[in-house]
């Protein structure tokens, strides 16, 4: 574990219990199954994965909303176990901001912008006379200006983009060290997506924040972070700098994902794209060996279906969990 890591996650597992008739335990859904990474202060990482790959469970576990089954998380020198209470929990909530997917659902409809922003300050004991100034400062940062036009508005009076800016303002009003953004732009129109991503990026730089951007949309990644993790069936299968990943994807799953993503090009209508057969596996009964092997066209007989691949590092900073790269040596 490096000294300067803001967040350090080791072999993290989060399993949900399956019960029959609400009583008998019948197994587990392995929503997160052995995830390890470090995030330094001021770094932005993106986690890309399809629905059911475990990316939202990762966010929930970090936020302390779901207790981890196994593994270790250390945030700013404190061990997180998902069981924090009282002061320790308040400290965690103040230091980790959360930006939800659906801004309208995340904002209380009966509170004005001013109350939405001063509520976290009041809960965390900021004196009342400072609250207004801080709320206004944060509104300036997310460009909800002029502030006087917005303070008395209710969420339904704002456009989708403004609502999401308000959610971001609320996430940073307590000056956290880390912001977790779970699909912050997927509910928004293309025309405002960019605006929101650029805003998050600017705030990340100016506050030296660690940001974890969770998305299913690889095409927005290069506009946000330098480093990408690709998740498939509850595991991180590949990690690399963005440009490296887009130019030289190594894992067969990442390759398939990149092939599948369209750029707006009229030529697309004339070609059939290659898609791996089948669907992601059930996380209650994941396949043995590599989890992608039933859909993989490069699978190595005997090996991929029986033994889980370890991490290889065929190029510096580019790590992949796939047996195709075993000559490259373990990373």
């Amino acid at each position: 574990m490096t000294e300067q890591a803001l967040l350090s996650v080791r072999d993290l597992h989060t399993w949900y219990e399956l019960r029959k008739w609400g009583f008998f335990r019948t197994g587990h859904v392995r929503a997160l199954d052995g995830v390890t990474f470090d995030l330094r202060r001021g770094d932005a990482i993106t986690i890309v994965g399809e629905s059911g790959s475990g990316k939202t469970t990762l966010a929930k576990t970090l936020l302390g909303l779901v207790p981890p089954t196994k593994g270790e998380m250390v945030f700013a020198g404190e061990r997180l176990d998902g069981k924090k209470k009282g002061k320790a929990l308040a400290w965690l909530r103040a230091n980790v901001g959360f930006v939800q997917q659906d801004p309208y659902g995340a904002l209380p409809p009966f509170m004005t912008v001013e109350r939405i922003l001063s509520e976290p300050l009041a809960v965390h004991g900021v004196p009342r006379r400072e609250q207004e100034a801080r709320a206004r400062a944060v509104m300036d940062e997310v460009r909800l200006t002029p502030q006087d036009d917005f303070v008395h508005k209710y969420p339904h009076m704002l456009s989708g983009g403004q609502q999401q800016r308000l959610v971001i303002a609320r996430a940073i009003v307590l000056e956290p060290k880390l912001v977790v953004a779970d699909e912050p732009v997927s509910m928004l129109d293309a025309s405002v997506r960019v605006e929101i991503l650029q805003l998050l990026r600017r705030i990340q730089k100016s506050h030296d924040l660690g940001v974890m951007y969770i998305t299913h949309d690889l095409s927005t990644v290069r506009y946000f972070s330098e480093y990408v993790f690709v998740m498939y069936a509850a595991k991180i299968v590949e990690r690399a700098p963005v440009h490296e990943l887009i130019r030289h994807p190594l894992h067969p799953y990442t390759q398939a994902l990149l092939t599948a993503i369209s750029d707006p090009d009229p030529e697309n209508a004339h070609i059939q794209k290659e898609v791996p057969p089948g669907e992601p596996p059930s996380l209650a009964h994941p396949p043995s060996g590599c989890r992608f092997h039933p859909r993989c066209k490069h699978r190595i007989a005997e090996l991929c279906s029986t033994t889980e691949p370890t991490t290889f590092e065929p190029a510096p900073g580019h790590r992949v969990e796939c047996w195709l790269y075993r000559q490259g040596g373990e990373g």
Partner: protein
């Protein structure tokens, strides 16, 4: 606009809704024509009237309609003059079908998929024999890439991608000429999206079904598009070939929209459109995009005409008159 042998011709179509704050001009004077074969994508920001346009053409109206005017010709017949019973028997689902948004989640949970998919045949009087209907369901299932075993299953036993294919089969079972697809892939994963787009391309090529794809996802829409229609604030602002739309759109709104689409493979500087679309309760009298447009000039206070600039390329902008 065009000749009568075109598949669909829409002329000055209007659909306004009554609300307690006044009439909402959801679709306001839309005209265009489609040929048999090429697929059209309808793009625009949410709330611009894309879905309402499809519903207006298919006459699937809610109760609070305050104005519903214009002409729609399908194969040369003005379907706006048909009464509801004839419209249902001769047009809706027989000639034109719709895969509505989130249709995959509106399958009846307690009826077997095969019975639901073959239902349009019985309801629209194409085939009354249940066995024959199921046989046809099996055929369309093969077309959309689902094994016939799934006919016997219940919706909860199917994955999202399978359910989406099933509702597509339901739209195709009556062999309609024209199928409207309203955001058919936006709730699905990237890989599933791509395989469904592959299925649609195959059906377009092999069966000659004419698709109208309504979506806000411009990048994915390029997978099917032969022509593109851009909507803004209840009106069509540009209608052109896919090549023109994706490479060199003329309307300032289309240009801004294209500039905001992220690309994976090329490093382009993304832009966003400042401001927000006007309220459809009281839209501006002149060009509806003028407030957000960087090339506006004096003339823009008047409403621009929707003009053909050549090669069936229509633009509603004073810069191109």
């Amino acid at each position: 606009m065009g000749t009568t042998d075109r598949l669909l011709r829409v002329e000055d179509l209007k659909l306004h809704f009554r609300t307690w704050r006044g009439p909402v001009q959801a679709v306001d004077g839309v005209s265009f024509a489609l040929d048999r074969g090429p697929a059209t994508v309808v793009v625009g920001e949410s709330g611009c009237g894309k879905s309402t346009l499809a519903r207006a053409i298919l006459r699937l109206l809610p109760r609070n309609v305050s104005a519903y005017t214009g002409n729609v010709w399908l194969n040369g017949t003005n379907i706006m003059t048909l009464n509801e019973e004839r419209f249902r028997r001769q047009v809706r689902w027989v000639k034109m079908a719709l895969v509505s948004q989130a249709a995959m989640n509106s399958l009846n949970p307690v009826i077997r998929v095969g019975d639901q998919v073959s239902e349009p045949l019985r309801v629209h009087g194409v085939s009354t024999n249940k066995k024959e209907a199921l046989r046809q369901a099996e055929e369309v299932f093969r077309l959309v890439g689902v094994s016939a075993d799934f006919l016997e299953r219940f919706p909860f036993e199917l994955s999202g991608g399978m359910r989406q294919r099933a509702v597509l089969a339901m739209a195709l079972i009556t062999h309609p000429d024209l199928v409207f697809l309203d955001e058919p892939t936006s709730a699905l994963d990237v890989l599933t999206q791509t395989s469904i787009m592959n299925v649609l391309k195959g059906i377009k090529r092999d069966l000659g079904v004419t698709f109208v794809l309504i979506t806000h996802d411009i990048a994915t829409s390029s997978e099917l598009a032969d022509r593109a229609a851009v909507m803004y604030a209840g009106q069509l602002v540009e209608f052109s070939s896919a090549h023109h739309f994706f490479r060199e759109p003329l309307h300032p709104y289309s240009q801004k929209l294209m500039a905001s689409v992220p690309t994976l493979r090329e490093d382009k500087k993304l832009e966003f459109i400042p401001g927000r679309p006007p309220s459809l309760l009281d839209p501006p009298t002149g060009c509806r995009f003028a407030d957000r447009c960087s090339s506006r000039f004096g003339k823009c206070v008047e409403e621009p005409p929707f003009r053909d600039v050549g090669e069936d390329w229509w633009v509603k902008c004073w810069l191109h008159v």
